[in-house]
Amino acid sequence: MTRMEKPVNFSRRGLLKAGGALVVSVGAPVSFDFARADDALSMSATVKPALTPDQLSSYIAVNADGTISAYFGKMDMGQGLFVAVGQIVAEELDVPFDRVKVFMGDTATSVNQGGASGSTGLQEGGKQMRVAAAEARRVLIDLAAQKLGVPAEQLSVDKGIVHNVAEMAQSVSYAELIGGRYFNVHLDWNGKYGNPLYAPGKAQPKDSKTHTIVGQPIKRRDVAPKVFAQQDFCTDVKVPGMVHGRVIRPAIAGAVPVSVDENSLKHIPGARVVWNQGFLGVVADKEWDAIKASQQLKVEWSDAKPPFPDQAALYNHIRKTPARKREVEGKQAGNVDDAFDTAARVIAAEYEWPFQSHASMGPACSLVEIKDGHVTCWSGTQKSHFARSGVAAILQMPEDNVHVIWTPGPGSYGRNDADDAAMDAAVLAKAVGKPVRVQYMRNQGTGWDPKGPASVHQVRAALDASGNVIAYDFLSKAFSRVDVDTNGSKPNDTLAGQLLGVDLKSGDGFGIPAESYGFANKRTAWEVIPPLLDRASPLRTSHLRDPVGPQIHFASESFMDEVAAALDMDSVEFRLRYVKDPRDVAVIKAAAEKAGWQSRPSPRRDQTGDKVSGRGIAYAQRNGTRVAMIAEIDIDRRSGKIWVRKFTVAHDCGQIINPDGLRMTIEGNIVQGISRTLWEEVKFDNKNVTSVDWLSYPILDITETPDQIDVVLINHPEIAPSGAGEPSSRPIAAAIANAVFDATGVRIRRVPFSPEYVKAALS
């Protein structure tokens, strides 16, 4: 091995001519002579250039066998994003889809593209992979031009082989051109990390009209490993010398340990206690022993004052608490207050949404190994690059010494408990000097994950004497969507950091309805209030799938129906009268047509008896995507039980990369959204969250599954893809509420629509 003791400058061409093998030890600083930047040969390198966003090699590699590795700084949460990204890369490179492998979210192989975030997997992540793959193709053609002695314009690519179009037999494969070496090509990086990272090359991506791989219903390759039990989740990773850790949370939120009796564990082999300020955990060699230790450790807790109000007072608490921040957002129009002064009629309503839990299928798990000054963390986090920063900070180590390997977790729909688990594992691993695998228990996964914020929404509309809507005023008042941030890059946003006493920094944020109602006077605003408990709260709030979208659009789209009903207008016709955006109009019409919507006002007046049926529509935008949906429900007035029999969804997210993946993503959103609407509410008492398992936090059962979910996909190949992971989550609750009103004439303005609540509302 050639060891480079100090930086060396050398010429690429000279080295290649010399022909000898050069092996550079990892980490040796090397800088190349870029004097021949235009020389095709300088576009490749034997040593991988630094993993920076401005390097093509940070995204795309051609392997010696002609396969393509795509390094993606986001990850798939089960919707098949990596298939769509593979399709984009294969399309731009002109290689068969099967030849592309997408590597996701490993901080050692990908740059920070923001992780799984805001349905931007294709919108932002795919956009970057598209320009990177296009640039790789351009560079490969330049290399081929040089090798074949043919101008680049005379070359074409088929299945990874570059041909001279004038003489097809004259060809060279990608593998022959660069296989096993690396691109050494600078991209025009915009200097941003995360979702907005963008680094195009000189190449223009293909015209969508020429696409042959993008748009195809290619199947996922991770399904077979899952059904044959061959895929490792982050819960399954083991390393030599690993011990099992568990953390211990207080019975009264906010309490901290004041004395801990380690002797109470002396009968458990290898059990050790890790206690530092509010942080309390145990480790043991065997997992069952760690669990027993966490249950049997004798702890005296501080005399904390119960921090929470009665749950029944939650919404009044939100109403009466002074706002910490107020924002008027979105496109405002006219003068709302003046318009209300002239109104012939005012319609007003208020809607309420509870705290909700990610309640992921399994509680979070993470494994951290600290060895020779380097940290390896296996985590199901949605944001591994940010988690690296957090782990480095809590361990007080340089970020470069921390490697986070994203490994699929037990379900993830936002900022769940995964980032907390990674930090807990890091703290425990450092304390005991061994690799520690932490998995939370169910009551911690549901009880102590960051929650989707509870909210109250006050909406009013002013009508003139002719029944025209002349003003609209929408205000959300709520807990913040970023009391703790959407990623774990800062210890103050994690339980471990908060329990170890770092300074707090609760963020403010909420949102407004996303639609195109063209009311002449319009105001959309939000206010947030402080958390109920500042530090280490089981009711701290952050992002849960389509953060604050379901809340806001439950209110805004229920309210549109209330106005339509007050005017005795059909709900679809009312929307079409005011919605301005043509793509919005198209999804509303498509949903109505597919569902066979008959024009009439709500509620129905033709039903008697206890079992009645209804239909409801709702629509919304989300960052470029439009979705309209119609719920058809049956309701038993005696029990209050709602069955959502059928959903019809019309969805426009621009260009469709993979229609089957998109359809399944929407189906999952619908079922999860029905669950959130009908069942989900985090319960708490004065002391703590009391929703701690599947009995106390029920979700939709398979017996309650809709008979039918019809999905109409509207494809716009000419429009860059926007997101699909979340948009169809947001109109669901309103569509169901509107259907309940249609069936019964009773308006449900609070989620969840549990049988008890609905029954009471109907009586």
């Binding site: 899952k226 059904v227 061959q230 082999p269 069952w288 939709l700 599954t705």
Partner: protein, 155 residues
């Protein structure tokens, strides 16, 4: 501390030393290195830990290792292979069912026992048989498609 237990898992004999009250789940995962069953709740509420014991779907997270005796345990990996998939595994692939996939043991191992004993079930019967299992990603509609497909294959 621990006692020795013999376990027959996927046709192979194993021996583990454990507390008698330790749930079978940890013996399978930690002692035998089988990652198929998952910890979801530890309360028999979700199904992620499901295996078959003498052909019956059981929740390994609440089954003490001492209660297994000489019963035959089959995990998801023992149900079928890529070369010889169980009809449910084939149907799951065809229907592209799982999203995160963490719940998969519960649905497949429970449905496999049900379909073995119930030929040509109605949709309502399938739903009843699977009631109580959890899928947080909301793949219920796809699960039902796959189970119906497998039921047709199993005739």
């Amino acid at each position: 501390m621990g006692e020795k237990f013999s376990l027959n898992v996927n046709g192979q004999a194993h021996s583990v030393e454990a507390d008698p009250d330790m749930p079978l789940l940890y013996a399978l995962r930690d002692d035998l290195g089988l990652n198929n069953p998952h910890f979801g709740c530890g309360l028999a509420q979700c199904g992620a830990c499901t295996v078959q014991l003498d052909g019956q779907a059981i929740r390994s997270c609440v089954t003490p290792v001492s209660a297994v005796g000489d019963g035959k345990i089959v995990t998801l990996a023992g149900l079928g292979t890529p070369e010889k998939p169980h009809p449910l595994q084939a149907a799951y692939i065809e229907e592209q069912v799982p999203q995160c996939g963490y719940c998969i043991n519960g649905w497949i191992m429970t449905a496999a026992a049900f379909l073995r004993d119930n030929k040509k079930p109605t949709e309502a019967q399938i739903k009843d048989a699977l009631s109580g299992l959890k899928c947080r990603c909301g793949t219920h509609v796809a699960i039902l498609r796959a189970v119906k497909r497998a039921a047709a294959m199993m005739g």
